[in-house]
Protein backbone atom coordinates (compact mmCIF):
# COMPACT_ATOMS: atom_id res chain seq x y z
CA UNK A 1 0.00 0.00 0.00
CA UNK A 2 1.69 3.12 -1.16
CA UNK A 3 1.07 6.37 0.57
CA UNK A 4 1.16 9.51 -1.42
CA UNK A 5 1.83 12.99 -0.19
CA UNK A 6 -1.86 13.70 -0.26
CA UNK A 7 -2.50 10.74 2.01
CA UNK A 8 0.02 12.06 4.49
CA UNK A 9 -1.69 15.43 4.50
CA UNK A 10 -5.03 13.70 4.88
CA UNK A 11 -3.86 11.72 7.89
CA UNK A 12 -2.55 14.85 9.55
CA UNK A 13 -5.67 16.87 8.77
CA UNK A 14 -7.88 14.09 10.05
CA UNK A 15 -6.31 14.35 13.47
CA UNK A 16 -5.48 18.03 13.41
CA UNK A 17 -7.35 18.72 16.62
CA UNK A 18 -5.50 16.00 18.44
CA UNK A 19 -2.20 17.36 17.17
CA UNK A 20 -3.08 20.91 18.10
CA UNK A 21 -4.18 19.78 21.56
CA UNK A 22 -1.01 17.84 22.22
CA UNK A 23 1.21 20.67 21.02
CA UNK A 24 -0.69 23.26 23.05
CA UNK A 25 -0.63 21.21 26.21
CA UNK A 26 3.06 20.39 25.90
CA UNK A 27 4.06 23.98 25.11
CA UNK A 28 2.01 25.34 27.96
CA UNK A 29 3.37 22.75 30.36
CA UNK A 30 6.91 23.56 29.32
CA UNK A 31 6.23 27.27 29.66
CA UNK A 32 4.65 26.99 33.09
CA UNK A 33 7.30 24.57 34.28
CA UNK A 34 10.18 26.76 33.25
CA UNK A 35 8.42 29.86 34.59
CA UNK A 36 7.43 28.57 38.00
CA UNK A 37 9.29 25.40 38.82
CA UNK A 38 12.88 25.96 37.76
CA UNK A 39 14.81 27.95 40.35
CA UNK A 40 16.77 30.76 38.78
CA UNK A 41 20.50 30.10 38.61
CA UNK A 42 22.86 33.05 38.43
CA UNK A 43 26.32 33.09 37.03
CA UNK A 44 29.36 35.16 37.86
CA UNK A 45 32.57 35.34 35.89
CA UNK A 46 36.09 36.61 36.34
CA UNK A 47 38.67 37.06 33.66
CA UNK A 48 42.32 36.25 34.14
CA UNK A 49 45.09 37.04 31.75
CA UNK A 50 48.22 34.91 31.60
CA UNK A 51 51.38 36.54 30.42
CA UNK A 52 54.76 34.92 30.95
CA UNK A 53 56.69 37.91 29.61
CA UNK A 54 55.65 39.98 32.58
CA UNK A 55 58.02 38.10 34.87
CA UNK A 56 60.69 37.29 32.31
CA UNK A 57 61.15 40.98 31.81
CA UNK A 58 62.36 40.38 28.26
CA UNK A 59 60.17 43.33 27.34
CA UNK A 60 59.76 43.80 23.60
CA UNK A 61 60.68 40.24 22.78
CA UNK A 62 57.09 39.25 22.29
CA UNK A 63 57.35 36.70 19.54
CA UNK A 64 55.08 33.98 18.32
CA UNK A 65 56.77 31.30 20.36
CA UNK A 66 56.13 33.25 23.52
CA UNK A 67 52.48 33.56 22.72
CA UNK A 68 52.23 29.87 21.90
CA UNK A 69 53.93 29.00 25.11
CA UNK A 70 51.41 31.15 26.96
CA UNK A 71 48.56 29.36 25.27
CA UNK A 72 49.95 26.01 26.34
CA UNK A 73 50.33 27.43 29.80
CA UNK A 74 46.68 28.38 29.87
CA UNK A 75 45.71 24.80 29.16
CA UNK A 76 47.87 23.77 32.09
CA UNK A 77 46.36 26.41 34.34
CA UNK A 78 42.88 25.35 33.41
CA UNK A 79 43.64 21.97 34.85
CA UNK A 80 45.47 23.33 37.85
CA UNK A 81 42.51 25.42 38.92
CA UNK A 82 40.42 22.32 39.05
CA UNK A 83 42.74 20.50 41.41
CA UNK A 84 42.57 20.29 45.19
CA UNK A 85 45.82 22.21 45.31
CA UNK A 86 43.83 25.37 44.70
CA UNK A 87 40.41 24.34 45.87
CA UNK A 88 41.52 23.07 49.27
CA UNK A 89 42.91 26.49 49.98
CA UNK A 90 39.71 28.17 48.85
CA UNK A 91 37.62 25.89 50.99
CA UNK A 92 39.88 26.52 53.96
CA UNK A 93 39.97 30.27 53.56
CA UNK A 94 36.22 30.59 53.06
CA UNK A 95 34.42 28.30 55.45
CA UNK A 96 31.32 30.46 54.93
CA UNK A 97 30.82 28.84 51.50
CA UNK A 98 30.21 25.61 53.32
CA UNK A 99 31.65 23.70 50.39
CA UNK A 100 34.33 21.06 50.12
CA UNK A 101 37.07 21.20 47.54
CA UNK A 102 35.26 18.59 45.48
CA UNK A 103 32.10 20.68 45.36
CA UNK A 104 34.07 23.68 44.27
CA UNK A 105 35.77 21.70 41.51
CA UNK A 106 32.39 20.70 40.21
CA UNK A 107 31.05 24.21 40.43
CA UNK A 108 33.68 26.09 38.54
CA UNK A 109 34.04 26.14 34.81
CA UNK A 110 37.22 27.36 33.21
CA UNK A 111 37.22 28.49 29.63
CA UNK A 112 39.83 30.06 27.49
CA UNK A 113 38.81 32.12 24.55
CA UNK A 114 40.39 30.65 21.45
CA UNK A 115 43.98 31.68 20.87
CA UNK A 116 44.01 34.40 23.45
CA UNK A 117 45.73 34.57 26.74
CA UNK A 118 42.52 35.31 28.56
CA UNK A 119 40.96 32.71 30.81
CA UNK A 120 37.42 32.90 32.05
CA UNK A 121 36.20 31.41 35.31
CA UNK A 122 32.49 30.82 35.60
CA UNK A 123 30.54 29.82 38.69
CA UNK A 124 26.81 29.25 38.80
CA UNK A 125 24.70 29.35 41.91
CA UNK A 126 21.15 29.96 43.04
CA UNK A 127 22.31 33.23 44.57
CA UNK A 128 24.20 35.68 42.46
CA UNK A 129 26.09 37.04 45.44
CA UNK A 130 27.41 33.67 46.42
CA UNK A 131 28.39 32.87 42.84
CA UNK A 132 30.33 36.11 42.65
CA UNK A 133 32.02 35.54 46.00
CA UNK A 134 33.05 32.01 45.12
CA UNK A 135 34.43 32.92 41.74
CA UNK A 136 36.32 35.87 43.17
CA UNK A 137 37.76 33.73 45.93
CA UNK A 138 38.91 31.09 43.47
CA UNK A 139 40.52 33.70 41.23
CA UNK A 140 42.35 35.38 44.08
CA UNK A 141 43.57 32.12 45.57
CA UNK A 142 44.69 30.98 42.15
CA UNK A 143 46.68 34.15 41.67
CA UNK A 144 48.24 33.72 45.09
CA UNK A 145 49.02 30.06 44.71
CA UNK A 146 50.38 29.96 41.18
CA UNK A 147 53.85 31.32 42.11
CA UNK A 148 54.25 28.57 44.66
CA UNK A 149 53.41 25.97 42.05
CA UNK A 150 55.15 27.39 38.99
CA UNK A 151 57.54 29.78 40.52
CA UNK A 152 56.43 32.44 38.13
CA UNK A 153 54.28 35.46 38.65
CA UNK A 154 52.46 35.85 35.41
CA UNK A 155 48.80 35.83 36.35
CA UNK A 156 46.83 39.01 36.39
CA UNK A 157 43.19 39.28 37.23
CA UNK A 158 41.50 41.39 34.61
CA UNK A 159 38.23 41.78 36.39
CA UNK A 160 36.54 40.31 39.40
CA UNK A 161 32.89 39.56 39.55
CA UNK A 162 30.82 42.43 40.86
CA UNK A 163 29.31 41.33 44.15
CA UNK A 164 26.76 44.10 44.18
CA UNK A 165 26.05 44.72 40.51
CA UNK A 166 24.32 47.89 39.42
CA UNK A 167 21.91 45.96 37.30
CA UNK A 168 19.72 43.15 38.59
CA UNK A 169 21.51 39.95 37.53
CA UNK A 170 19.67 37.92 34.94
CA UNK A 171 19.26 34.21 35.66
CA UNK A 172 21.04 32.10 33.08
CA UNK A 173 18.73 29.12 33.01
CA UNK A 174 15.29 30.69 32.88
CA UNK A 175 15.03 30.44 29.14
CA UNK A 176 11.27 30.25 29.05
CA UNK A 177 11.04 31.13 25.40
CA UNK A 178 13.60 28.58 24.35
CA UNK A 179 11.96 25.87 26.40
CA UNK A 180 8.56 26.61 24.92
CA UNK A 181 9.92 26.57 21.40
CA UNK A 182 11.70 23.30 22.09
CA UNK A 183 8.58 21.78 23.60
CA UNK A 184 6.56 23.02 20.63
CA UNK A 185 8.83 21.44 18.07
CA UNK A 186 9.30 18.18 19.93
CA UNK A 187 5.61 17.77 20.72
CA UNK A 188 4.66 18.62 17.16
CA UNK A 189 6.89 15.87 15.87
CA UNK A 190 5.59 13.47 18.50
CA UNK A 191 1.96 14.35 17.77
CA UNK A 192 2.38 13.85 14.05
CA UNK A 193 4.10 10.57 14.80
CA UNK A 194 1.19 9.51 16.99
CA UNK A 195 -1.25 10.49 14.26
CA UNK A 196 0.55 8.30 11.75
CA UNK A 197 0.79 5.47 14.24
CA UNK A 198 -2.92 5.67 14.97
CA UNK A 199 -3.66 5.65 11.29
CA UNK A 200 -1.40 2.67 10.80
CA UNK A 201 -2.99 0.76 13.67
CA UNK A 202 -6.51 1.63 12.54
CA UNK A 203 -7.66 -1.53 10.79
CA UNK A 204 -11.25 -0.50 10.25
CA UNK A 205 -12.80 -0.39 6.83
CA UNK A 206 -13.46 3.16 5.74
CA UNK A 207 -13.51 3.51 2.01
CA UNK A 208 -14.62 1.77 -1.10
CA UNK A 209 -10.98 0.99 -1.81
CA UNK A 210 -10.75 -0.84 1.52
CA UNK A 211 -13.85 -2.84 0.67
CA UNK A 212 -12.42 -3.87 -2.67
CA UNK A 213 -9.03 -4.70 -1.24
CA UNK A 214 -10.11 -6.75 1.77
CA UNK A 215 -13.50 -8.12 0.82
CA UNK A 216 -13.33 -8.20 -2.97
CA UNK A 217 -16.91 -7.03 -3.04
CA UNK A 218 -18.43 -4.11 -4.91
CA UNK A 219 -19.66 -1.15 -2.94
CA UNK A 220 -23.25 -0.50 -3.86
CA UNK A 221 -23.95 2.47 -1.66
CA UNK A 222 -22.40 5.19 0.42
CA UNK A 223 -24.62 6.50 3.15
CA UNK A 224 -23.21 9.68 4.58
CA UNK A 225 -23.06 10.42 8.24
CA UNK A 226 -25.54 13.07 9.26
CA UNK A 227 -25.92 15.35 12.25
CA UNK A 228 -27.77 12.96 12.82
CA UNK A 229 -31.40 12.16 12.20
CA UNK A 230 -31.18 8.67 10.73
CA UNK A 231 -29.43 7.13 13.69
CA UNK A 232 -31.02 5.85 16.83
CA UNK A 233 -31.21 8.19 19.77
CA UNK A 234 -28.25 6.78 21.63
CA UNK A 235 -26.06 6.72 18.59
CA UNK A 236 -27.14 10.19 17.65
CA UNK A 237 -26.18 11.43 21.09
CA UNK A 238 -22.84 9.71 20.82
CA UNK A 239 -22.28 11.17 17.39
CA UNK A 240 -23.15 14.63 18.63
CA UNK A 241 -20.75 14.27 21.50
CA UNK A 242 -17.94 13.25 19.21
CA UNK A 243 -18.78 16.09 16.91
CA UNK A 244 -18.78 18.60 19.73
CA UNK A 245 -15.49 17.26 20.98
CA UNK A 246 -13.93 17.54 17.57
CA UNK A 247 -15.00 21.12 17.19
CA UNK A 248 -14.15 22.35 20.65
CA UNK A 249 -10.78 20.84 21.36
Amino acid sequence: MELELRDYVQIILKRKWMIVAIVLICSMAAGLYSYFMIKPVYQATTKIVVNRTATDASGDDLNLNEVNANLRLIDTYKEIIKTPAIMEVVAKQHPEFNMLADDLVKKVKVNSVNNTQVMTLVVQDLSYEKAAKVVNAISLVFKEQIPTIFNVKNVTILNLADIQPAKEPVPVNAKVKLNVILAFVVSLIAAVGIAFLMDYLDDTIKTEADVRRYLELPTLGHIARMDNPEMGQDQAKKALKVKAGEVNV
Binding site: D203, T204, K206, T207, I223, A224, M231
Partner: protein, 230 residues
Protein backbone atom coordinates in the same frame (compact mmCIF):
# COMPACT_ATOMS: atom_id res chain seq x y z
CA UNK B 1 -38.45 5.90 22.09
CA UNK B 2 -40.83 8.49 20.87
CA UNK B 3 -42.49 8.23 17.54
CA UNK B 4 -41.05 11.50 16.34
CA UNK B 5 -37.44 10.41 16.74
CA UNK B 6 -38.12 7.05 15.16
CA UNK B 7 -39.61 8.67 12.14
CA UNK B 8 -36.22 10.20 11.62
CA UNK B 9 -34.81 6.79 10.78
CA UNK B 10 -36.78 7.05 7.60
CA UNK B 11 -34.97 9.95 6.07
CA UNK B 12 -35.92 8.88 2.57
CA UNK B 13 -39.56 9.25 3.58
CA UNK B 14 -39.25 12.35 5.74
CA UNK B 15 -36.76 14.19 3.56
CA UNK B 16 -36.93 12.61 0.12
CA UNK B 17 -34.84 15.36 -1.45
CA UNK B 18 -31.89 15.16 0.91
CA UNK B 19 -28.54 13.89 -0.42
CA UNK B 20 -28.83 10.93 1.90
CA UNK B 21 -32.15 9.89 0.41
CA UNK B 22 -30.46 10.25 -2.93
CA UNK B 23 -27.76 7.89 -1.71
CA UNK B 24 -30.41 5.29 -0.91
CA UNK B 25 -31.86 5.76 -4.37
CA UNK B 26 -28.41 5.24 -5.81
CA UNK B 27 -28.18 2.07 -3.77
CA UNK B 28 -31.48 0.93 -5.21
CA UNK B 29 -30.25 1.59 -8.72
CA UNK B 30 -27.03 -0.27 -8.09
CA UNK B 31 -28.90 -3.27 -6.74
CA UNK B 32 -31.17 -3.29 -9.77
CA UNK B 33 -28.20 -3.28 -12.10
CA UNK B 34 -25.88 -5.46 -10.06
CA UNK B 35 -27.27 -8.61 -11.56
CA UNK B 36 -28.27 -8.66 -15.18
CA UNK B 37 -29.62 -12.15 -15.62
CA UNK B 38 -31.03 -13.02 -12.22
CA UNK B 39 -34.10 -11.26 -11.08
CA UNK B 40 -33.28 -9.87 -7.66
CA UNK B 41 -36.51 -9.88 -5.75
CA UNK B 42 -35.67 -11.02 -2.24
CA UNK B 43 -32.93 -8.97 -0.62
CA UNK B 44 -31.60 -9.09 2.92
CA UNK B 45 -29.25 -6.90 4.88
CA UNK B 46 -26.82 -8.05 7.46
CA UNK B 47 -23.63 -6.87 9.04
CA UNK B 48 -20.74 -8.22 11.04
CA UNK B 49 -21.59 -6.61 14.35
CA UNK B 50 -24.65 -4.99 15.92
CA UNK B 51 -25.48 -1.36 15.38
CA UNK B 52 -23.94 -0.89 11.98
CA UNK B 53 -27.17 0.29 10.42
CA UNK B 54 -28.82 -2.77 8.91
CA UNK B 55 -32.34 -1.83 9.91
CA UNK B 56 -31.91 1.81 8.93
CA UNK B 57 -30.52 0.82 5.56
CA UNK B 58 -33.20 -1.69 4.70
CA UNK B 59 -36.02 0.54 5.93
CA UNK B 60 -34.85 3.39 3.75
CA UNK B 61 -34.25 1.03 0.89
CA UNK B 62 -37.82 -0.19 1.27
CA UNK B 63 -39.05 3.38 1.14
CA UNK B 64 -37.14 4.25 -2.03
CA UNK B 65 -38.34 1.04 -3.69
CA UNK B 66 -41.88 1.95 -2.72
CA UNK B 67 -41.34 5.43 -4.13
CA UNK B 68 -40.40 3.77 -7.40
CA UNK B 69 -43.90 2.32 -7.51
CA UNK B 70 -42.89 -1.17 -6.53
CA UNK B 71 -45.02 -3.14 -4.12
CA UNK B 72 -42.65 -3.68 -1.26
CA UNK B 73 -42.83 -5.94 1.77
CA UNK B 74 -40.31 -5.51 4.57
CA UNK B 75 -39.76 -8.38 7.01
CA UNK B 76 -38.07 -7.99 10.37
CA UNK B 77 -36.42 -11.35 10.88
CA UNK B 78 -34.29 -10.04 13.70
CA UNK B 79 -36.32 -11.76 16.37
CA UNK B 80 -33.70 -11.07 18.99
CA UNK B 81 -33.72 -7.30 18.82
CA UNK B 82 -36.65 -6.24 16.66
CA UNK B 83 -36.91 -2.57 15.68
CA UNK B 84 -39.15 -2.42 12.64
CA UNK B 85 -42.36 -1.79 14.58
CA UNK B 86 -40.66 1.20 16.22
CA UNK B 87 -39.44 2.57 12.91
CA UNK B 88 -42.83 2.39 11.22
CA UNK B 89 -44.90 2.92 14.32
CA UNK B 90 -46.93 -0.26 13.96
CA UNK B 91 -47.97 -2.98 16.35
CA UNK B 92 -45.73 -5.93 17.01
CA UNK B 93 -48.48 -8.17 18.35
CA UNK B 94 -48.54 -10.31 15.25
CA UNK B 95 -45.52 -10.81 13.07
CA UNK B 96 -43.03 -13.20 11.61
CA UNK B 97 -42.84 -15.39 14.68
CA UNK B 98 -46.64 -15.65 14.73
CA UNK B 99 -46.71 -16.77 11.10
CA UNK B 100 -43.91 -19.27 11.53
CA UNK B 101 -45.49 -20.74 14.62
CA UNK B 102 -48.80 -20.95 12.76
CA UNK B 103 -50.59 -18.64 15.10
CA UNK B 104 -51.82 -16.48 12.27
CA UNK B 105 -52.03 -16.32 8.52
CA UNK B 106 -49.73 -14.24 6.34
CA UNK B 107 -52.45 -11.74 5.52
CA UNK B 108 -53.06 -11.02 9.17
CA UNK B 109 -49.42 -10.26 9.85
CA UNK B 110 -48.87 -7.97 6.89
CA UNK B 111 -49.36 -4.39 8.06
CA UNK B 112 -49.59 -1.36 5.87
CA UNK B 113 -47.50 1.69 6.73
CA UNK B 114 -47.68 5.43 6.19
CA UNK B 115 -45.50 4.94 3.15
CA UNK B 116 -47.59 4.15 0.07
CA UNK B 117 -46.85 0.74 -1.48
CA UNK B 118 -44.89 -0.35 1.58
CA UNK B 119 -46.07 -3.10 3.90
CA UNK B 120 -44.22 -4.63 6.80
CA UNK B 121 -44.16 -7.87 8.70
CA UNK B 122 -42.76 -7.13 12.11
CA UNK B 123 -40.85 -9.69 14.11
CA UNK B 124 -43.77 -10.64 16.28
CA UNK B 125 -43.42 -11.78 19.88
CA UNK B 126 -39.85 -12.79 20.65
CA UNK B 127 -39.62 -16.60 20.40
CA UNK B 128 -37.15 -18.79 22.30
CA UNK B 129 -35.72 -20.37 19.16
CA UNK B 130 -35.33 -17.77 16.40
CA UNK B 131 -32.71 -19.73 14.46
CA UNK B 132 -34.89 -22.80 14.15
CA UNK B 133 -37.82 -20.65 13.18
CA UNK B 134 -36.11 -18.91 10.30
CA UNK B 135 -34.61 -22.26 9.22
CA UNK B 136 -38.04 -23.85 8.97
CA UNK B 137 -39.77 -24.95 5.79
CA UNK B 138 -42.50 -22.55 6.63
CA UNK B 139 -40.08 -19.64 6.32
CA UNK B 140 -39.20 -20.73 2.79
CA UNK B 141 -42.86 -21.15 1.99
CA UNK B 142 -43.56 -17.68 3.38
CA UNK B 143 -40.94 -16.12 1.17
CA UNK B 144 -42.26 -17.96 -1.88
CA UNK B 145 -45.75 -16.72 -1.07
CA UNK B 146 -44.55 -13.14 -0.68
CA UNK B 147 -42.66 -13.35 -3.98
CA UNK B 148 -46.01 -13.77 -5.68
CA UNK B 149 -47.73 -11.02 -3.74
CA UNK B 150 -45.03 -8.31 -3.88
CA UNK B 151 -42.47 -6.92 -6.30
CA UNK B 152 -39.71 -6.63 -3.75
CA UNK B 153 -39.22 -8.59 -0.53
CA UNK B 154 -36.72 -7.07 1.91
CA UNK B 155 -35.54 -8.93 4.99
CA UNK B 156 -33.71 -7.47 7.98
CA UNK B 157 -31.53 -9.97 9.83
CA UNK B 158 -29.38 -10.05 12.96
CA UNK B 159 -25.62 -9.55 12.69
CA UNK B 160 -23.77 -12.54 11.25
CA UNK B 161 -21.03 -12.83 13.81
CA UNK B 162 -23.44 -12.86 16.72
CA UNK B 163 -25.94 -15.50 15.60
CA UNK B 164 -26.46 -17.85 12.70
CA UNK B 165 -29.84 -16.45 11.61
CA UNK B 166 -28.45 -14.28 8.86
CA UNK B 167 -26.63 -17.23 7.32
CA UNK B 168 -29.85 -19.24 7.25
CA UNK B 169 -31.94 -16.45 5.82
CA UNK B 170 -29.31 -15.68 3.19
CA UNK B 171 -29.84 -19.11 1.62
CA UNK B 172 -33.43 -18.19 0.98
CA UNK B 173 -32.67 -14.80 -0.57
CA UNK B 174 -31.70 -13.69 -4.03
CA UNK B 175 -29.05 -11.43 -2.65
CA UNK B 176 -27.54 -10.09 0.53
CA UNK B 177 -26.27 -6.63 1.32
CA UNK B 178 -23.44 -6.34 3.81
CA UNK B 179 -23.80 -3.13 5.76
CA UNK B 180 -20.53 -1.73 7.08
CA UNK B 181 -20.20 1.04 9.58
CA UNK B 182 -17.24 2.74 7.98
CA UNK B 183 -14.40 3.57 10.33
CA UNK B 184 -15.94 1.48 13.10
CA UNK B 185 -15.90 -2.13 12.09
CA UNK B 186 -12.67 -4.08 12.04
CA UNK B 187 -11.40 -5.55 8.83
CA UNK B 188 -11.13 -9.06 10.23
CA UNK B 189 -14.70 -9.08 11.46
CA UNK B 190 -16.07 -8.16 8.07
CA UNK B 191 -13.90 -10.71 6.33
CA UNK B 192 -15.22 -13.35 8.73
CA UNK B 193 -18.79 -12.22 8.14
CA UNK B 194 -18.26 -12.48 4.41
CA UNK B 195 -16.80 -15.96 4.80
CA UNK B 196 -19.79 -17.10 6.80
CA UNK B 197 -22.13 -15.93 4.09
CA UNK B 198 -20.13 -17.42 1.23
CA UNK B 199 -19.89 -20.72 3.11
CA UNK B 200 -23.62 -21.19 2.72
CA UNK B 201 -23.44 -20.05 -0.90
CA UNK B 202 -25.28 -16.84 -0.25
CA UNK B 203 -25.10 -14.32 -3.02
CA UNK B 204 -23.56 -11.17 -1.66
CA UNK B 205 -24.64 -8.34 -3.89
CA UNK B 206 -22.20 -5.92 -2.36
CA UNK B 207 -21.37 -3.66 0.50
CA UNK B 208 -23.19 -0.63 1.79
CA UNK B 209 -20.76 1.74 3.46
CA UNK B 210 -22.68 3.38 6.23
CA UNK B 211 -21.79 6.49 8.22
CA UNK B 212 -19.25 7.63 5.69
CA UNK B 213 -17.69 10.80 6.98
CA UNK B 214 -18.86 13.63 4.85
CA UNK B 215 -16.07 15.89 3.81
CA UNK B 216 -16.42 19.55 3.08
CA UNK B 217 -17.24 20.24 -0.51
CA UNK B 218 -18.42 16.72 -1.08
CA UNK B 219 -22.05 17.70 -1.16
CA UNK B 220 -22.70 16.63 -4.68
CA UNK B 221 -20.59 13.54 -4.52
CA UNK B 222 -23.57 11.40 -3.68
CA UNK B 223 -25.53 12.56 -6.69
CA UNK B 224 -22.55 11.94 -8.82
CA UNK B 225 -21.94 8.60 -7.23
CA UNK B 226 -24.96 6.83 -8.69
CA UNK B 227 -23.38 6.99 -12.13
CA UNK B 228 -19.87 6.28 -10.97
CA UNK B 229 -20.13 2.66 -9.96
CA UNK B 230 -20.56 -0.32 -12.28
Amino acid sequence: MSKATNKRHLISFVEPKSPISEAYRALRTNIDFSSVDDNIQVIMTTSASPGEGKSTTISNLAVVYAQADKKVILIDSDMRKPTMHHTFGVSNRKGLSSILSRQCEINEAVQITDVPNLSVITSGPIPPNPSEMVASQRMSALIEELRKMFDIVLIDTPPTLAVTDAQIVSTKCDGALLVLDSGKVKRDMVIKAKQQLTQVNAKILGVVLNNVKQKNGDGYYYYYYSNAEN
